[in-house]
Amino acid sequence: MFVVYHESVVCIRENVDNVSERTKFDSPYENTYDPPYIMSIVPNMNSLLRVDNLYARVEGKDILSGVSLAIPAGEIHFLVGPNGSGKTTLANTLMGSPQITVTAGAVSFDGEEITALPPEERAKKGLHLWFQHPAEIAGVGYMPFLRSVAASRGDTLPPEKEFRDAVAARAEELEMPVALLERNLNEGFSGGEKKRSELLQLAVFAPRFAILDECDSGLDVDGIRAAAKALQAFRDGRRSLLVITHHGALREYLHPDAVHVMARGRIVASGGEELAIAIERDGFGQFGA
């Protein structure tokens, strides 16, 4: 069961100011919605991350065309969609990439508008992005990187060795080769190593909200299991995840609370896990993608 938004619904939602006005939805599936995923499409709910009618442009090209989304604390949401539908741009926009221009709409985190905040301020508020293609930083050692991030967040830093041992223990838990910690940040890492590196950072930085951009592509079965195990930690009622994925394996571990379908730069449908299953079976054609 899932809700398909039509253009008209999106327009109406902009004017909806409280929950009681939900009835204005003219969706043909109006009577089928039920919590928890419906909370994600209702404005003014107490969500950890909220996106309102977001429009954004990259290199002069409109990529996001009115994205609205709300993710309550304690939930794991999936974002799926065909290639080129704008998922990665949405992820980068949420993190505040300077290469993206937001032309309309707003992003709020924990009740506070962050649309114009630089990425580092968002990170300090607890937002995190797992990059699909993490940048390779030549010359910057992995450990010095982790330490300067910890220092920039005002953490009291333990002595270097203690810090390193703690990180190494974490890496081992996540089945990441500890030798990677002696190398430069992502430099020359294989596809799988980059995924492990992103996973380690997710675990070490322990953000309140993480956007995972294709965290599972290129990972083998063991890798997906290790990742899923770490991601389960977000089910503590306080933190949330927005997971961009193309694969069913991760869904089977995580059982998302809601699934959103993106096409042509907006969310065209939202539903429960069954929506993801339907897409795994039938593809995106049903959304006119």
Binding site: N92, P118, F131, G141, Q201
Partner: protein
Amino acid sequence: MVKLLSKISDAQALWERSDPERWVSRTGKGISQKIVEEISSLKGEPDWMREKRLAAYRFFESKQMPAWGVDLSGLNFDDITFFIRPDERRFKTWDEVPGDIRRVYDGLGIPEAEQKFLAGLVGQYESESFYGRIREKWEKQGVIFTDTDTAVKKYPDLVKEYFMTRCVPIADHKFAALHGAVWSGGSFVYIPKGVHVDLPLQAYFRMNASQSGQFEHTLIIAEEGSSVHYIESCTAPKYTKDSLHSAVVEIFVKKGASVRYTTIQNWSKNVYNLNTKRAIVEEDGKMEWVGGSLGSKATMLYPMSVLTGRGAHARHLNIALAGPGQWKDTGAKVIHGAPHTSSRVISKSISLGGGRSSYRGLLKIAKGARGSKAHVQCDALLLDEHSQSDTYPYMEIYEDDVSLMHEATVNRVTDDQLFYLRSRGLSEEQALDLILAGFLDPISRELPLDYAIELNRFIRMEMAGSVG
């Protein structure tokens, strides 16, 4: 961070600020035989030095400007004042130093540093030095540390033997010849056999007058089995008109001796900085060049080590920073002229805000220099897409039984890298700091700690003006 930035700009303002010009005598603008004679007579030099100046001047006249390297088309010798004497006296304590000069050096923290870290200090203002002192402990052991003008009078035999003779002869090239004609000031260091000076000797050169030239000559002689660390710093205030700095450094490393020459050049960005620095290293001698080239409009500098004795070793560490409007053409030259000599060159350049840095290096292994080893590493970091980096490594190898390595890398900081680091919570400056620290790590590990700290400070200052 804002606080740090404002502190940095205060400090920068301090040395870019010009103080009222002071001089007791100066030549007219431009260069001619008459001006060269005038400089020599103002200094009351012996004939042999006057003759040397005039011979150098004739070479200068006959030589062409270099047709390679940085753009020198804006350099006009007719606009430059080649000699300015700020004061006739030489002082041995800071209390005697005239207030206006004293204030400049106090502001730069020099007298304080002398007390804490140094075995001796020479201070130069404009063309001549005004201060020179060495701790008694080393004076007693025969160490000489004074300005080169004084050395001409007090130690003529040493100067005659070593001054622009076999290390950097006056006919070497146009700017060496110019230097030979108008040189003034600089340090003279003599370390007797077997003496180890375990605190650094430092010289601090300040060029204050607008459109002037500074041509200090530094001569270091380390006798057999001795060791010394010499540090040189230079600054100048910012003017709208260009100035010229053309120094010569000659170093003689005798058998088993070791010399470390460290310099931080932070001339303001209207100074043409065209220097010649060279060392002759004898058997089992060790020469180490540590250089930070931060300021100036255009710099051409390729410290050279000539390894003439078996087992001689040279190490060149160089960091060049090219900011907006700057062009750095720097590098290293090593000539392996004896068996089992070794050399290591690490050169790092950072370009930002449209700056250009070039590495120009020469590595020559002469016939007969069997079993020699050379390792050259030059890395460039470009902080944005407007900046530029080039590499011109020349190698001449005339011997088979040698080991040779050359590595070169160019890295550009991309928007993706900055976004990645910022998404982790680092500000743009912190992200650049991290990248810079990583880039400089192999070289900063080799530096004495106080030097590394000072260098970092300078680099941040340079960056503060052009980043973020």
